[in-house]
Assembly symmetry: C2
Homo-oligomer: 265 residues x 2
């Protein structure tokens, strides 16, 4: 059976209403091209694209953009050699890249948060699903250190960054993926949901962690585990790859992961 890019995008976006300024778009390739195989990834890095070419896949579905800015602008990059090499590879190989960002966040429940909570084995702790976060209630408290080690082990990552007291016991936590780690989201949650732990992907260093620092200095029991943007969202894209593989059994669909972008030294 022949499947075109348009059909897969229609499948992905079937039950969501995207805002007018959505970043979700076909960044390269054509809606009418026949799909030879699908690679799903957190980000269409140079390596992910090379892997797609090696596998004979010509559609990449990625959560983040290929060109180092959220809106996939390229006018500022036309003279840049890294951009040129990547762009040439994409164009010469005829790779269609579809940005699946707002779509998967607007699926009910949020497909990225769902993937992370599933990967952490915490579905049974789920108390409430909010648009920006899952609220978890741990029956028997675990310490921040135990939770951090569990996250590292289950996601197979080398490190997490922690603010607050590592030995504090946590009862209630929120999980916020991607760039939802800023104070405008986390600080009201801490107070309104009576949380003592935020687990987030990425956020400004001068917001949530500094709030936690002040809270601890005031004698409060609160902590933050920042796990990394990609590390918080890759599980959701892996889950999407599984769902696509079931929806299109005739197509090869694979998830391609990357190592964490930073090493800690």
């Amino acid at each position: 059976m022949e499947v075109r890019v348009q059909e897969i995008i229609d499948h992905l976006t079937a039950h969501v209403k995207l805002q007018d300024n959505t970043v979700d778009q076909l960044i390269s390739g054509s809606m009418v091209q026949l799909v030879s195989g699908v690679v799903v990834a957190f980000m269409p890095t140079q390596q992910v694209i090379e892997r797609a070419v090696q596998q004979g896949a010509n559609l990449i579905i990625a959560h983040e953009p290929p060109f180092y800015n959220h809106h996939s602008h390229t006018d500022w990059l036309t003279e840049d050699p890294v951009y040129q090499t990547k762009r040439n590879l994409i164009d010469e190989a005829g790779i269609a890249i579809y940005r699946c960002h707002d779509t998967i966040h607007q699926v009910q429940p949020d497909g990225i948060t769902e993937g992370l909570v599933q990967a952490l084995g915490w579905t049974s702790f789920l108390e409430q699903r909010k648009s920006e976060a899952d609220i978890l209630s741990f029956d028997s408290g675990m310490t921040v250190r135990q939770i951090a080690e569990h996250i590292k082990h289950t996601l197979q990552i080398e490190y997490v960054r922690v603010a607050g007291n590592l030995e504090m016991t946590c009862q209630r936590a929120a999980v916020l993926v991607g760039f939802r780690g800023n104070g405008n989201l986390t600080i009201p949650l801490l107070h309104n949901e009576r949380l003592n732990l935020i687990i987030a992907g990425e956020g400004f260093e001068w917001e949530t962690p500094e709030y936690i620092r002040d809270a601890v200095q005031q004698g409060r029991q609160q902590a933050l585990i920042m796990i990394g943007h990609a590390e918080s969202e890759s599980s959701g894209m892996k889950l999407l790859a599984m769902k696509l593989d079931q929806a299109y059994p005739e197509l090869p669909v694979t998830f391609v992961g990357e190592q964490p972008v930073y090493n800690v030294l």
Copy 2:
């Protein structure tokens, strides 16, 4: 000799022209209050304010805001207990907090970048001062690992985050403090200034480090050392404290530092 808050702010802002939407302002206290002592800090944390009170200082000059958002808005925090406790301490102790952010970045040369490059002992490597970055040329190349270890040692920090090959030898680097680590600044610099290393404070994870990852995958010699927002800017505030101490010998002026806001686990 009596010194009022207004006089010190006039001194700080004497040679700069701030834009209309500057974040620099007196966040608490009054312009006419007599200054009993000055604490200079990267951020007016709970602990920094407590230290000022202990020292009998009633003016804090800080680079970043006290209330977990760049524009020091407080309307969203009125019910928040951490905010309330901090606000009460500030008001009851009569602490004036002056935000010195845009001012010190607009001094020529940028007072924050100057402080960092001095603290790293790299003034002799300085090739060019741009508004957003200092460009350094290392006579004898050092590896990324050696540079990272030097930064950790001189700034007394536990870790830095690195993208790219640790064993690569670097000849040309840019130093970008604070939140200047994003792709719109770093990527044109890498190309136009023929750099192989970016040393920055903080930036979006999906921009500069992902560019470096792609560049390395393409066989290019480029790397990134992300040292932390506070870690990149505290030296500049420490330098400001020294200058203020010389300008106001009759006033006690001290720099109060903080531990890095994150621990790596």
